[in-house]
């Protein structure tokens, strides 16, 4: 199990950041991903693999309408 924005999410082996965002349908372009306190650069979303127990923040920088 992993945490995504404080909520439980099932983990599986080889799950990448890019795959996770796609599964969550997080399509907004201004998004920051932080794993266990460390920011993942956008160009590393595909190659960054999520470990079981990771705490992930997927912060959408959108404050309006």
């Amino acid at each position: 199990m992993i945490k995504v924005n404080g909520r439980d999410y099932p983990w599986r082996a080889e799950l990448s950041v890019k795959q996770l965002l796609a599964e969550m349908n997080f399509t907004f372009p201004l998004i920051i991903v932080v794993i266990n306190g460390k920011t993942v650069p956008k160009d590393e979303f595909t190659c960054t693999v999520i470990e079981n127990g990771d705490d992930i923040q997927a912060i959408h920088l959108i404050c309006g309408g």
Binding site: N5, G6, R7, N25, F26, T27, F28, P29, L30, I32, T39, Q57, A58, I59, H60, L61, I62, C63, G64, G65
Partner: protein
């Protein structure tokens, strides 16, 4: 009829000559007062106290309105006013989004003080013509045009019987009439409403600007709250202003070099990053449709649902590929590199009085794609564009039109009203033709359009009293707060945004607070205290734009490349610092980001007391319809059953398998309604208000607005 004949029909009712004066650090230090009943004019000084406390824009509008009316004034009394004010930063050309002005008056929908922001050239031209605000009171006997000639220092009030009323024709006629040449058209701006503004309570105002590359007059809208209806109630056909040629130093700023430096940095940021971020330069605000649909936040069928597979038909992809013309002038004020004012150069109308005409359409923007589309269960871009055009030219707010029509459709589908009542209109969800016919009826002041044009709050009362409708059901599905229709976001899964709509001064409009993603998706504000802090900071921060004359979009629809490394990326700290520097650069002040918030807090609390003075502004008026909070019907619940069942299990430890849908709807409702009340308590506390939502005397004292007439209002409720 040619323009010469139309112009010759004008009858001069009054003239006012004034010294053009000098702008000093963003202010002209005077406002222009016009009384249409008495046909009189006056120059009012702007005091230092007024600048310190009310700053400009919406702040000036609220102060002038407060002083101009009495406690019993109604929206259609002659004492009601329309005030237009740009703010001290308004009109600079160095930084994007600096051409906004603010319209303030008593709203026919909310019966209290309304403010609506708008682009276009009129606001900056007003300042460059010598005025920090235009304050109009009284009623003309017949249709008039008020013309401010900022090149000569004259104001004329002219009876104007022959011009068309609908905006797309009227603005062309008046631009042509008051410009001395083709080159001079760029120095003329016009404010108009339209035929529907005089038959409904949801009238808007169009503010024009001349697009030199397309050689066409374009318009932006002050849409919310029915201020176009007030305009027509005063028998104003148009306001026209003619300005001196625009230069970058006309505000006579304290420090022009700072404006240039900060502006240059921002333009560079937009040009290098927009394409990889929100693509505002290509898509404008339309890029939001797909995002809202993806996150289940796009209103569908009167906010029952948050997404629909057919929404792909009305996204920015379709608009860019088939409709938008991207080869022109898409900024609504000089120097805005974000350039979000998208336009359709040529669109052939299929219905109404201008059927088969090719017209230019400004927009559609995000809100209209929902209001004239998804919220009605309509996913035809051509219908959206046609409705966009007719709402603008008739002078109708697309948001209120869409939200109230969606309410009518749900009433129709539930048998609250029928074809006998609608005059034969089959107002089912998805019936685009019927919705357009309703709009045409509003313009003509005929049929069911007259009833719909009253807005949701009055329709609810009418349907209950006349047709025996269930008041609880109508309260649940009627998407209005304080009498104003909701703007276009589904808030069911964001408690904070429910407050962002309910705990507002003017009603549920997203320009005050929009915290859905912080709350629902990012889960950054999980506690009541966190939500209350967000509902303190963001409304105050956003209010500041309305005081100084800025557009919100360049704040966070583009962000610096390293924004994610800052402590609070959602606030976009570098841009906040830009605003501090620009404000100081124009006015010569020395504020910081804390003082910026305090400036807003003063006006925000004054607005709250204003509502109180008019008989509103307490807790009962902050309540939202349950459709904004959770699923009203079994249909809604079952459409997202997994989500709701999971919440009942995780939060309330409920065995959902043992419950019927109706039981689960009721249990969820009890829980969510209780949460909303707790949110109210937390927000009131954070804002320095008592448990009834009234600013305390200590709060007014802290903010320095415990003026006798303000404190007296609050004391009545203490």
């Amino acid at each position: 009829m040619n323009l010469e004949e139309i112009k010759n029909s004008h009858k001069l009712l009054g003239t006012f000559n004034y010294q053009l004066g000098q702008i000093d650090k963003g202010y002209t230090n005077r406002t222009l007062y016009v009384n249409l009943s008495a046909k009189t004019f006056a120059e009012k000084p702007v005091t230092e106290l007024m600048k310190q406390k009310f700053i400009g824009g919406r702040g000036f509008g609220l102060k002038l309105l407060w002083d101009g009316i009495n406690d019993n004034t109604k929206w259609n009394d002659p004492e009601n006013e329309l005030i237009i004010a740009p703010g001290p930063i308004g009109g600079i050309t160095q930084y994007p989004g600096a051409g906004k002005s603010y319209v303030v008056g008593l709203s026919p929908l909310t019966q209290s003080a309304m403010d609506s922001n708008v682009g276009g050239y009129f606001g900056p031209f007003l300042k460059f013509s010598g005025w920090d605000a235009l304050e109009i009171q009284g009623k003309a006997e017949r249709d008039v045009i008020l013309f401010i000639d900022g090149t000569k220092g004259t104001v004329t009030l002219e009876e104007a019987p022959l011009e068309e009323l609908n905006s797309h024709i009227l603005i062309e006629q008046l631009t042509e009439m008051y410009a001395e040449s083709e080159e001079d058209k760029v120095n003329v701006s016009v404010v108009t409403a339209g035929e529907a503004a005089q038959h409904t309570l949801i009238g808007l105002l169009n503010f024009s600007f001349y697009d030199t590359r397309r050689k066409a007059v374009r318009i932006k809208q002050a849409g919310r709250g029915g201020l176009g209806t007030v305009f027509r109630d005063k028998n104003i056909k148009a306001l026209v202003i003619k300005s001196i040629k625009i230069r970058g130093d006309l505000n006579n700023p304290h420090d022009l070099s700072t404006l240039k430096k900060v502006g240059k940095k921002m333009h560079k940021e937009i040009l290098s990053l927009d394409d990889s971020q929100c693509q505002m330069r290509k898509a404008g605000t339309t890029h939001i449709v797909k995002i809202m649909n993806d996150y289940d936040l796009l209103p569908v069928c009167n906010y029952k649902f948050g997404s629909d597979p057919n929404a792909n038909n009305i996204t920015h992809t379709v608009l860019i590929s088939k409709y938008f013309n991207l080869n022109g002038h898409d900024e609504c004020w000089y120097g805005c590199t974000l350039s979000c004012a998208k336009v359709i150069n040529s669109f052939k109308l299929k219905t109404g009085p201008y059927k088969n005409k090719d017209v230019i359409v400004d927009g559609p923007e995000y809100e209209t794609l929902s209001a004239a589309g998804s919220v009605l269960g309509v996913f035809d871009p051509e219908f959206v564009i046609e409705t966009n055009f007719y709402c603008d030219t008739y002078g109708v707010d697309t948001i209120s039109f869409g939200t109230l029509t969606a309410f009518v459709m749900e009433c129709y589908e539930n048998g609250v009203i029928n074809q006998d009542i609608t005059g034969g209109l089959k107002l089912n969800f998805g019936n685009a033709e019927a919705a357009l016919e309703l709009l045409h009826q509003m313009a003509k002041g005929e049929g069911f359009g007259v009833i719909a044009g009253l807005g949701i709050r009055r329709m609810k009362k009418l349907f209950i009293e006349k047709y025996g409708a269930n008041p609880d059901f109508l309260q649940d599905i009627g998407m209005e707060v304080k009498g104003l229709e909701f703007s276009e976001y589904v808030t069911k899964e964001s408690l904070a945004q429910q407050g962002g709509y309910g705990l507002t001064n003017k009603g549920p409009q997203h320009d005050e607070a929009w915290v859905i993603f912080m709350d629902m998706v990012n889960n950054q504000i999980p506690t009541f205290e966190d939500k209350a802090e967000a509902l303190f900071y963001y409304p105050m921060f956003r209010t500041w734009f309305s005081l100084v004359g800025l557009c919100k979009l360049p704040w966070n629809d583009i962000v610096p490349a390293d924004n994610h490394t800052t402590a609070e990326p959602a606030k976009v700290p570098e841009h906040v610092q830009n605003y501090v520097e620009i404000y100081n650069g124009v006015t010569g002040s020395d504020i910081d980001n804390n003082e910026l918030i305090r400036q807003s807090e003063v006006v925000y609390n004054f607005h709250r007391v204003f509502n109180l003075r008019m008989g509103y502004g307490t807790r009962e008026f902050d309540q939202v319809p349950y459709r904004a909070v959770g699923p009203v019907t079994a249909e809604e619940y079952e459409s997202r059953q997994d989500r709701y069942d999971r919440q009942l299990k995780e939060i309330l430890d409920l065995n959902t398998a043992e419950k019927t849908t109706e039981e689960k709807v009721r249990i969820l409702r009890n829980y969510r309604e209780e949460q909303y009340q707790k949110l109210c308590d937390a927000v009131y506390l954070r804002r320095g208000w008592n448990s009834n939502g009234i600013p305390t005397l200590e709060t007014l004292q802290r903010l320095g607005i415990d003026f006798p007439e303000v404190a007296e209002v609050v004391k009545k409720y203490s």
